[in-house]
């Protein structure tokens, strides 16, 4: 299905989208080669990101027009939302794909115990067998398949897949990345405006990072997805270890890379097994790892339940690693060693959202495996609670934000596991804006405080950093789920889906939301309220950041307020929030034109929205009561005692991993090294001992004395003549 004829730009132009930041990065490298001064090294990358962002926005609108579907224009005619329990079975608007007589496999009944709130109907998800995106192939890359069997004329192509999910992802990836890169221009300089050491390297890596993420999102098959996946991992390594002179930064970079390797191993196995299961079913001319092919054959029942579960769980490994979920989240807090814009980029626009994206993209696979969905929900719930409690007891501002990221990503996982991938992606989208805002705000604080980020070292900064204070307030409110801000709408939807799944899951989500609001504002109050207190590193006159930094902050702040409204709909009625706003708006309908398809609509439960609003307010209020004056004696510690210390020590997870995995593995490595060094090398030594012993026995002969050699020659001659004479 090509883009609509009325599309603004042709697919060929959109296919260049990932390469502009790459071009920028290469140009930065060339500038370095040409020995240009680093002052303007950001320009190529900023320009590349700018072009990408412009294309991303255009593509977003083009994709909206490309798939005129019954749900299009939902802003005017919202999807009929059930008015209660019974109405949840309202049939979905029929879709083109359903009428084509495909061999649809009805999915097994969904284990929806939480029928009291949720929809509860077992209708097969409408997307099955219908991948509404289209694939734009640039060229065929790897040819394979043998002539004697069915698998011939098969390729791994370099192709891009365009659908609603691509559009949404590209929209925020390109825009947020652009904003962060612009912010970095100011951040990566000292107070006199001189670039830091490695300024060019930083921007080159940023460009590469954005390129990697865009190609990951646009990839049209699993191999290309894997390529982008690994490129993102590489870039995170390069950027987390940006201050490689610092041992902790080098260690953090390695940790991120290695932990990601664990997940990526599973991911690769998942791709392999997907190919293994599908290779005999795929017809000639179809590329067996293209999304379109895979989804088509899965919908046609080409894989058994067990195979689907296996593939899902293996792919999930990759998502857990890349999206920093339990139990592979440990790399993300350490990733704070990189410069703050890198943290923002990793946490908001790239890297960690890749896992969510992948699971959402593979909804046809995951959705067919209830077991995999259960695992996803479990991982999400554990991760959300675990890291939220860890964030309660941290002092490092960036670390608190890192744990909140993991917690929010866990929210998204819960959404994915609760058959609400559109809600999950919606949260990814809103989260990108306010988490980037929070990180860049924290960076602004760090910039003013001379590199200090420990909230115990300073307080009362609202007079010194008035602009940062305002945008941070917006960001914290959005993260806390304050009503009417972006985070509220998306988080509420997830809580909603969680309740639909099971009330326990929903309650745990609400609890996590409460903790989120509380720790976010604990950090906020400790930083900006109370008596003004400054660390020595801040110098005499700490000042607000330059406009090149505050400008992006305000752009993100606007996003943190407004992006949520893309996902709600004007729906006057008693069941809507405040009587006028109902969830599931334009954003969701846009997303339904993708491999996500149309998940079963959420049941109507307006009381949940009021409840989550109340919980957010309660969390903020509680934080105000306990930390409103930025006390230095940590009231929570006195109140909670040992529990607080446990949280502060992050449940000793790092230590447990160290004992359980790192040390045994290191011991194994040492053992193998010893075997190689002594066992194998010893054998070789034994073999070499023979010539060495011979040399030892004869080396005295070679004394360098010419006449001794002559003597030897004479003796040899005598022996020879004797032999001749005797013969």
């Amino acid at each position: 299905m090509p883009l609509a004829e009325t599309s603004i730009l042709s697919p060929t132009v959109y296919a260049t989208l990932p390469f502009w930041p790459l071009l920028g990065a290469v140009l930065v490298g060339l500038l370095v080669v040409a020995r240009q001064k680093p002052e303007r090294a950001h320009l190529p990358v900023v320009l590349g990101a700018l072009i990408s962002a412009a294309l991303g926005v255009t593509l977003f609108f083009d994709l909206n027009r490309a798939h005129p579907s019954p749900t299009h224009g939902a802003l005017e005619t919202p999807l009929p939302l059930g008015e209660g329990l019974g109405d949840a079975n309202t049939p979905l608007p029929s879709r083109e794909g359903l009428g084509e007589g495909r061999n649809l496999q009805p999915l097994p009944n969904l284990p929806l115990e939480g029928g009291g709130v949720g929809t509860g109907h077992g209708e097969p998800t409408g997307h099955a067998g219908h991948a509404p995106g289209f694939t734009h192939t640039i060229y065929n890359w790897i040819s394979f398949g043998d002539r004697s069997s069915l698998q011939r004329n098969q390729w791994i192509a370099v192709n891009f897949y365009f659908d609603g999910l691509t559009g949404v992802m590209l929209l925020y990836v390109t825009l947020v990345s652009l904003v962060i890169i612009i912010y970095s221009i100011g951040y990566m300089r000292d107070h006199h405006g001189h670039p830091e050491r490695g300024y060019e390297r930083f921007f080159a890596c940023m460009g590469l990072f954005v390129f990697s993420m865009i190609s990951l999102v646009m990839a049209g098959n699993f191999v290309l997805l894997y390529l982008g996946w690994e490129l993102v991992g590489l870039c995170s390594y390069l950027l987390i270890g940006f201050y490689y002179q610092r041992p902790s930064a080098a260690a953090a970079a390695k940790k991120a890379f290695i932990v990601n390797r664990i997940g990526d191993f599973g991911f690769a196995l998942g791709i392999f097994s997907l190919y293994w299961f599908l290779k005999d079913r795929v017809a000639a001319g179809e590329n067996p790892l293209d999304y379109a092919t895979v989804f088509k054959y899965i919908a046609a029942g080409a894989m058994t339940q067990g195979q689907l579960t296996l593939v899902s769980l293996l792919l999930l490994c990759g998502a857990v690693g890349k999206s920093a979920q339990f139990p592979l989240y440990v790399w993300l807090p350490d990733a704070m060693e990189g410069p703050t814009p890198v943290s923002a980029l990793i946490h908001a626009a790239t890297m960690v959202t890749a896992g969510i994206y992948m699971v959402a993209r593979c909804t046809p696979i995951f959705g067919a495996s209830p077991l995999a969905l259960d695992v996803i929900v479990t991982i999400g719930v554990i991760g959300a609670l675990l890291t939220a409690t860890m964030a309660m007891a941290q002092y490092d501002m960036k670390r608190i934000l890192a744990y909140s990221t993991i917690s929010q990503l866990a929210f998204m996982f819960v959404a994915l596991g609760c058959r609400a991938p559109d809600s999950g992606v919606f949260h990814v989208f809103t989260h990108a804006w306010f988490k980037a805002l929070l990180f860049l705000g924290a960076g602004s604080v760090m910039h003013a405080m001379g590199g200090v980020i420990d909230v115990r070292q300073f307080s009362g900064l609202r007079h010194i950093l008035p602009q940062t204070y305002k945008v941070m307030l917006i960001g914290c409110l959005a993260l806390a789920g304050f009503p009417l801000l972006a985070g509220f709408w998306s988080k509420d939807e997830i809580v909603h889906a969680a309740f639909a799944r099971h009330p326990v899951v929903g309650v745990l989500m609400l609890l996590t939301a409460l903790l989120t609001a509380y720790y976010t504002f604990r950090m906020f109050f400790l930083c900006f309220h109370g008596k003004p207190r400054l660390p020595a590193e801040a110098g005499d006159h700490p000042h607000e950041s330059p406009p090149v930094m505050t400008g992006p902050l305000w752009i993100l702040a606007i996003g943190a307020v407004l992006t949520g409204y893309l996902g709600v709909t004007w729906h006057p009625g008693a069941a809507s929030f405040l009587g006028v706003l109902a969830p599931h708006g334009f954003f969701h309908h846009y997303l339904h034109n993708s491999s996500i398809g149309t998940p079963p609509p959420l049941g109507e439960a307006p009381w949940l929205m009021y409840l989550s609003a109340a919980i957010a307010l309660a969390g903020i209020g509680l934080a105000w009561l306990r930390y409103g004056t930025a006390p230095t004696d940590e009231p929570d510690r006195k109140l909670l005692g040992g529990l607080w210390n446990l949280w502060n020590a992050k449940y000793y997870v790092d230590e447990i991993y160290d004992r359980a995995f790192v040390r045994p593995l290191r011991g194994l490595g040492r053992l193998l090294w010893g075997t190689d060094n002594h066992g194998v090398d010893g054998l070789i030594w034994c073999v070499t001992a023979v010539p060495r012993g011979m040399a030892l026995a004869l080396h005295f002969v070679q004394r360098g004395a010419l006449q001794a050699y002559a003597l030897g020659m004479v003796l040899g001659l005598v022996v020879l003549l004797l032999l001749w004479g005797l013969a």
Partner: protein, 230 residues
């Protein structure tokens, strides 16, 4: 093998070991006595071997002189004397060559060896003359093993003549064939003319090489200084 030859070899070996530099003087004397005895045995053997041959007397005299000179060359503690004994050796060998009617070659040998090469040797010895006899001249290097291997070689070579399976030796001496300049020069300039040219080339190369090797590296400053003195 005649027992006389064995006696000769053993005597010679023992005498030479004793006569080698490095031992006490009386031991050296003893060695010379043994060597003289060996010379006596040699005369006896030669007379037995070639009784009645023409030129035997000349051979015996020259051989004795040559062997004596050779022993002195390798046993004398002073290099200059070694060189002078070598001149004596060359003269004795020239006498032997005359005994074989190789008169031209004998003359050439004396002229080239005694006249040219040995003069060069003596010149270099004088150039490298040290105030006192140095250790390297006073002490031979493993004389026992050296003499043993040398005489073992000689024994094996001599044994070939008596025990070996070589072709039968000529029973009698052939007719006279005077080695005049004409007799030697004709094959040299006809049959072996390429070899002659190559020998000339070799000598040229050796001359150039010798100059290149032994030349003292003179810097520009030294040269200017020399010019200034001049």
């Amino acid at each position: 093998m005649p027992s006389a030859l064995i006696l000769l070899l053993v005597l010679g070996a023992v005498g030479l070991v004793l006569a080698m530099p490095g031992g006490r003087t009386d031991r050296g004397r003893l060695g010379l006595v043994a060597l003289a005895a060996a010379g006596g045995v040699l005369v006896f053997t030669a007379v037995n071997l070639a009784a009645g041959e023409r030129g035997l007397t000349l051979f015996i005299v020259c051989a004795l002189v040559a062997l004596f000179a050779a022993v002195r060359v390798i046993t004398h503690r002073k290099p200059v004397y070694s060189a002078l004994y070598f001149v004596l050796l060359v003269a004795a060998v020239a006498g032997l060559l005359i005994g074989m009617q190789a008169e031209f070659l004998a003359a050439a040998l004396v002229i080239v060896y005694a006249g040219a090469i040995l003069v060069t040797y003596v010149f270099v010895i004088m150039l490298a003359q040290q105030a006192r006899p140095t250790l390297c001249d006073l002490k031979a290097r493993e004389p026992f093993w050296g003499c043993l291997s040398g005489f073992a070689l000689l024994t094996v070579l001599a044994g070939q003549f008596f025990l070996g399976t070589a072709a039968p030796l000529p029973a009698a001496s052939p007719a006279e064939a005077a080695g005049t300049v004409e007799a030697v020069g004709t094959p040299l300039l006809t049959q072996y003319v390429v070899g002659l040219q190559l020998a000339g080339l070799l000598l040229l190369a050796a001359m150039v090489g010798a100059i290149a090797i032994a030349r003292r590296r003179v810097t520009v400053e030294e040269e200017l200084e020399l010019e200034g003195e001049a």
